[in-house]
Each structure stands twice: as C-alpha cells, then as structure tokens.
C-alpha cells in the first residue's frame, strides 16, 4: 500500500487525505457566511469534532465558525499580547507555537498540524501568551470562543469535547516535560520523530517517511537542544542505519530502533 508523503505544501497535504473540494471552492454557505465551510463536509471533521453529533448539531456548530483565514508561511496567526477572542481549527498547513520570555529566550512548545485546535492559551486572561507561526501556507477555521461557550451550554457532547481537547493538550505537555526533563539527545529526537510520524499517519500519510517543515533550530528549540546537536544526532541515526536523511526529507528505516531508544531505560 502506498501512502503519500507529507510534503511542505498544504495543497498536496490535503489531497493526500481527501479529494473533497477545498475551502475556497464551491461552498453552499458561501453567501450566508462568507468564507465558511460546512463542518459536515470537512475532511478534518473527525479530528476537530466528536463523532456522536447529529445533523442538526453539526449544522449549529458549523454556524459558529465565523470565517476561514489564510496564513502565509512565516506569518503569525496570533501573537503574544494580542487580545484573545478565537480558537482556531487548522484545516491545512503546519504551525509552530512558541513562547518568548522577556529576556529573549525562545521556546517552541509545539508543532500543530491539520485537525488540531490552537489558541487555548488565551482563555486564561483574555490575551494570548504565545505566538502561532505558520511553517507553511495554512488555512484555519476561526471559532469565536464566546460562541463556542454558548453552544457548549446547549450541546453536552460539544462541551465535553472542548474539555477533552484542553485535557489532551495538558497531557501532551506532560509528555514534553518528561522528554525535556529526563531524556538524552538521541532519545528526544527519536521521540519527536515517532510522535510526528504517528500524527501524520493518523491523517493518511506514510508511517515511515516524512518531510520536516521546520528547521533544525526549531526542532532544537522544541527539544531543548542546540541546532548543531540536532544535526549531529540526525547524522548519527544515518550512520546507525536508523534513518535516511536528505535535508528535510526523512525516511525511517528502523522504527523499532527508534522506539527502543525512547522506551528503553538508559543502559546501566
């Protein structure tokens, strides 16, 4: 069986998952709600929304989406300090989420892809606490949070789903803390690659091949390593026959070896 390989281009990315018309093409709700897309026909529906919704509920949730927004590579969807009003559901594209401390330290806290919800950091104090930067051209659904809350009061399934999404983010970050707090460079990179390839696989991409959308420096920031260490670790994995790496294209030759690195207690 042939899987598409995640490329750097959202169009290709989408087409690998589905052949449904894209957001900008024929849209029955276009006139009533400019730029909007019906959730019922969205190929990312199973990632953003619970499965137990009936048609009417789906329609009501659809009506919450105020607009779609396109973000070009390198641009930000939101920035630290900006007023928080919306969550965003990524339809296509790839983001890095980063925080910056007053002294200029920078930390990538996550890489988010299609089907994932971002912006929840802003709920706490009505202002965003981090930046969301597009690493490739992206489209997002804009979800005004007060409408999400309003509808959640009517639809229990949606309410619980919102809670689940936030809980999932908390648990994800626990995992990153484990990585940053207790793993060595090779283990971190292995965990990173396995996580990335798993999420891509969920979206119909290959389990063994991927195109990184971020630089070595961004990977390093996420993993608490310097870019040189990331590069060296990639080279080491090539020598060991675990990976084939050509720039940002990575092919996983020996997934078991990667998994062993992550799961096996340091040998001593």
């Amino acid at each position: 069986m042939q899987h598409k390989i995640a490329t750097g281009f959202s169009r290709t990315h989408l087409s690998a998952v589905s052949s449904l018309p894209s957001a900008s093409s024929a849209n029955p709700f276009k006139h009533a709600f400019p730029l909007k897309v019906a959730c019922a026909h969205c190929n990312m529906r199973n990632f953003c929304l619970p499965s137990e919704l009936n048609a009417e509920e789906l329609q009501r949730i659809s009506s919450v989406i105020s607009a779609q927004r396109s973000i070009k590579r390198g641009e930000t969807l939101y920035r630290n300090g900006e007023k928080f009003t919306n969550l965003y559901a990524i339809r296509t594209g790839f983001f890095k989420i980063r925080i910056t401390s007053e002294d200029g330290r920078e930390q990538v806290t996550g890489f988010q892809m299609a089907g994932e919800i971002i912006g929840m950091d802003g709920i706490m104090n009505d202002h965003h606490n981090c930046d969301a930067v597009a690493l490739e051209d992206a489209d997002v659904c804009v979800l005004p949070f007060h409408l999400v809350e309003k509808l959640s009061r009517d639809i229990g399934t949606l309410q619980h789903h919102v809670h689940k999404i936030m809980s999932r983010e908390i648990v994800r970050e626990h995992g990153v803390m484990l990585l940053l707090g207790s793993m060595r460079a090779e283990e971190r990179l292995a965990a990173f690659l396995l996580n990335l390839v798993e999420r891509l696989h969920d979206r119909g991409f290959s389990q063994s091949e991927l195109n990184l959308r971020m630089t070595r420096e961004e990977i390093g920031s996420y993993l608490g390593l310097k870019l040189e260490t990331v590069s060296r670790t990639f080279s080491k994995f090539m020598e060991d026959g675990i990976l084939e790496v050509h720039q940002r294209h990575v092919r996983i030759i020996n997934a078991d070896a990667l998994a062993l690195l992550v799961n096996h207690e340091k040998c001593h």
Copy 2:
C-alpha cells in the same frame, strides 16, 4: 508586617490564611451532605471559584461537591490508569503530580497547593495519566466531573471559570517547558523558588521565607536536574549570599539576584 512561614503542616497552613472554622467543625450542611463544606464559607473560595457568583449560584456549586477526602502524607489521591471521575480542589496540603513512562522514567510535572484544582489530565480519555501524591497530609474537595459539566451548562460564569483553570494549566506548563528547554541549573532553581514563594505569598505567607515540602530529588525531577545538582546549587546560592538554607527551610536574602538570574540573558 509579619507573615507566617509556610510549614509542613496543613493545620498551620490553614490558620495562616484564615481563622474560619475548618472543614471538620460546625458545618450547616453536615447532615444533608456528610463531610461537605459550604463553598461560601471556605477560605480557599477565591482561589477555586470565580468572584462574580451570587448566593444561589454559590449554593448550587456547593452542592456539587460530593465529599471531602483526607490524604495522608505519602499517599496518592489518584494514580495513573485509574478511572477518572472527579476533579479535586485542594483545601489544605501539598501535592506533587508525576508521570511515569513505561521504562520507569519519572517526571514531576508540578507541585500543587491549597486553592488549586487537580485531576484535569483524566478528562481526555476517562483515565488518569499521572499520579497525585500528597507531600503532606491534605484535604481535598471531591468534584464529580459530570456534575461540574452539568452545572457549567447552567452557570456561564462557572463554565468560563473551568475553561480558565484548564487554560491556566496549559500556560503554566508552557512556562515549565521554557525552563526545561532553555535554562541552566541556577536559573531553573531561581525560577522555581520565585514561583513557589509567589504562590505562597498569594495565600498569605511570607515573600521571603518558606519551608520546602519536597526532597531535593523531587525538586530535581521537576527541574530536569539530578538531586546533587540541586543541592550544589542551593549551596552556591548560600555562598553568594542569595539564600539562607537549612534543610528544607529557605530564606530569600536577595530576591533581586534570583529574579536577575531568571530574566537576564546569559551573559555573553
């Protein structure tokens, strides 16, 4: 002005914040809801609940609390793998939250004190993903989550508050990731102490003095350091005249120096 110093004992801890009757004493709802405490009279109310509630809403929220639970030092409130049904509001005491990977790696993801809500990790898949271990005898309010969700659908203020609490946890973890990913040992310990003392200060304790409730090893796990490094860094801070440390008692002599460590770019 004299602040109490956070001790290792919950009773003292409480009494420093308020002289209201404790949970186990006179309680008007005792017969209808055994072990329950009226939120309206709880000294942690301003930490757990939004301020804009009227008396009736307070009463309804109070009725959600199914029980109080006491946890002895060293015991767990919940464990990885257990079915999730409740959130917990800490009334007194001090917890560490830790995750354990399959290979036995352990990571403390947070230290939580009175007024804070824990257990949100379990919402994601109806099972807890981490352990909550009491570092001193503790009392918690048990909040059945399905009731919290039910009441949230009626009381918008409560709904938003729940979202805020989860968002705050996400943002807190972002900060820990920054710490683990980009700070050196001295900076990590400085950030840890300042954070701890700030939260204690919010609860009426001293800004400059505290009793640690955790071992050097637990601090190290949280900060991504080995216990020897934590110990050495404490000693270094003493030599530098920044701290006075006697076992778990810490007095901050030079808070500015600590803040500089955290905020100032590595000198180069």
